[in-house]
Amino acid sequence: MSAALSDHRESIWGKAFYKFRHDRMGMLGLAVVLLYFIAALGVWLGVWGTGWADVDGPKWAPMSGEYWFGTNIIGEDIFQRSIYSTKTAFEIGLVVAVLSTILGALLGALAGFFSGRWIDAIVLWLMGVLDSIPFYLFVAAVAFALQGNPWAMHVAMVSTFWTTTGRLVRGEVIKLRNFEFVEAARAIGVPQFTIVFRHIIPNTFHILLVQATIVFVAAIKSEVILSFLGLGVQDGVSWGLMISESTLEVLAGFFNNFIAASALLFVLVMAFNMFSDSLQDALDPKKVAAS
């Protein structure tokens, strides 16, 4: 037992880590994501990106040493704004990914553990209902119900994005529930909720990690569309707001706002997708067992 624990390559996580380290695309993706994360951290600590709301340049200045990406219609520095938006993106991505994963894990595990009982029926019904309300309408409705609260977008995303995680966890828990270790825990009289939280949910972490990365990407992509529709970021600036600003500019032939925000968003989402794919490959129990 202790020998198996000390040799990390014997566990699913040790093997997955080893496999992930040797996946070049995944490592590249992770490196780019970390770079963005440092940029976001710098904004958060006030090291850079502080002048994103200063109106000091001319209208639509071209790229120059002073304004690296030029300026927008009212003379704000586009480079500063796109760097500041990195923080906004991470804020939205992390909040939505963490909260919806927790919610999906809890409700999915409860439904799976008590499958066939009323608690399962209620969770399944709730998932079905939330999945069949059109997403943008739901966000719009939450935004108005919360009367323009800046967190309305987050609330709406968390309350709809957890359902996929919930379904996957439910399926896995139904499988786990019949394993010997659960039976053993039950036999020695461990309370049901302790079994769920201590013994079952930790065994679904590989699903949760992958789902969290997928939700992160979905959240920052949805932000762009919601901000364009006027339902997204309320204060501050984001790539979505910059792109919706640019919809009028591009027809007048000024592309800096559009290109800066789109390129930064694309590279982050692409890197995160690559990271997420490799993680999925590394954590797939079937593939880990085979290698």
């Binding site: 309408l137 027809l251 789109s262 997708n273």
Partner: protein, 317 residues
């Protein structure tokens, strides 16, 4: 007879779902939605006038009475007149739903057909460069925001900075030619966005089927690749493909067209819905929220019936 029983049972089973969707939507959009009282009144309204308007809009009645009335309206498909324009809701829907369908249908069909085709090519050449190239493009496609794609296509195809072939925005359709002119750019954008996700999903499904023993046996018998792909692989993968296509229909019709309609200024049902939410136009809201829920339940039923058509092993129990 068996089919009729099955249909009825499925429709009754869908009632909790419809109740749930309408209940949550009702709380969010109607009960906590924007209050129209003061928009309808002039300045300096008296207390009696306010009470009168509130009674007319139904704001003064208890919650469950209003919800019950909503369900009755949904059951009889009679939603009354729009608060904002005074037009009958049913007439509004009859005018705008066809526009949305014309807008999204070509893109939806092409996106799925091309997705299956590319997935077949990729799965057939699994592990080789053509597979890697297609899947690489799929990840790129998945990483670009829909809004960016729309703007980029607009610059490239309909502005003086690009080819300038198509109208920039709007929907002035009166002949086949004008339809093609207005529908091309939105269609290209939605195909581009859908292709990444679709190709990946369909490839996973097809690869799963391709590694089965019966495919190896068929290959050993020297069957031609075209027949193998169509008869042995595609037909056996029909169930997950149908599931994906069917389940995206209700969402594409409402959510999918909303972004394109508001970007291109197209008077479809997505735009009507969005305006109804932001202005609190209750009669319209009740219709556009309730009807997709009904559509969803009907989709569930039709999907189950389609399973039976493509796979005789599925029983309707």
């Amino acid at each position: 007879m068996e089919l009729l029983q099955y249909t009825l049972r499925k429709l009754i089973g869908g009632i909790p779902l419809i109740l749930g969707v309408t209940f949550i939507s009702f709380i969010l959009m109607v009960y906590y939605g924007p209050d129209q009282t003061f928009e309808l009144l002039g300045k300096n309204a008296t207390a009696e006038q306010i009470a009168e308007v509130r009674a007319e809009l139904g704001y003064d009645r208890p919650f469950f009475v209003r919800y019950g009335e909503y369900l009755k309206e949904l059951a009889t498909l009679d939603f009354g007149l729009s608060n904002s324009t005074g037009e009958p809701v049913n007439a509004m829907l009859a005018r705008t739903i066809p526009v949305s369908l014309e807008l999204v249908t070509p893109g939806f069909i092409l996106g799925n057909l091309l997705g299956v085709l590319l997935a077949l090519v990729a799965a057939y050449h699994r592990g080789r460069w053509i597979d890697k190239a297609i899947m690489g493009f799929a990840v790129v496609g998945m990483s670009i925001s829909f809004l960016i794609v729309i703007i980029a296509f607009q610059i490239l195809l309909s502005s003086s900075y690009g080819l300038n072939l198509f109208p920039v925005r709007g929907w002035n359709v009166h002949s086949l030619y004008s339809y093609v002119m207005y529908v091309t750019v939105p269609t290209l954008a939605s195909v581009f966005v859908a292709l990444g996700y679709n190709t990946r999903f369909y490839r996973a499904v097809l690869v799963e089927e391709m590694t089965r023993d019966h495919v190896r046996t068929a290959r050993a018998f020297g069957i031609s690749p075209a027949k193998l792909l169509y008869k042995h692989i595609l037909k056996n993968s029909a169930i997950p493909i149908i599931t994906r296509v069917m389940f995206s229909i209700p969402l594409v019709v409402v959510s999918g067209s909303l972004l394109m309609e508001s970007y291109f200024g197209i008077p479809g049902v997505g735009k009507v819905t969005f305006d109804a939410i932001t202005s609190g136009d209750q009669p319209v809201l009740k219709a556009v929220v309730g009807l997709p829920a009904v559509l969803f339940v009907v989709t569930l039923l039709v999907t189950d019936l389609l399973y039976r058509v493509v796979d005789p092993r599925v029983s309707l129990m």
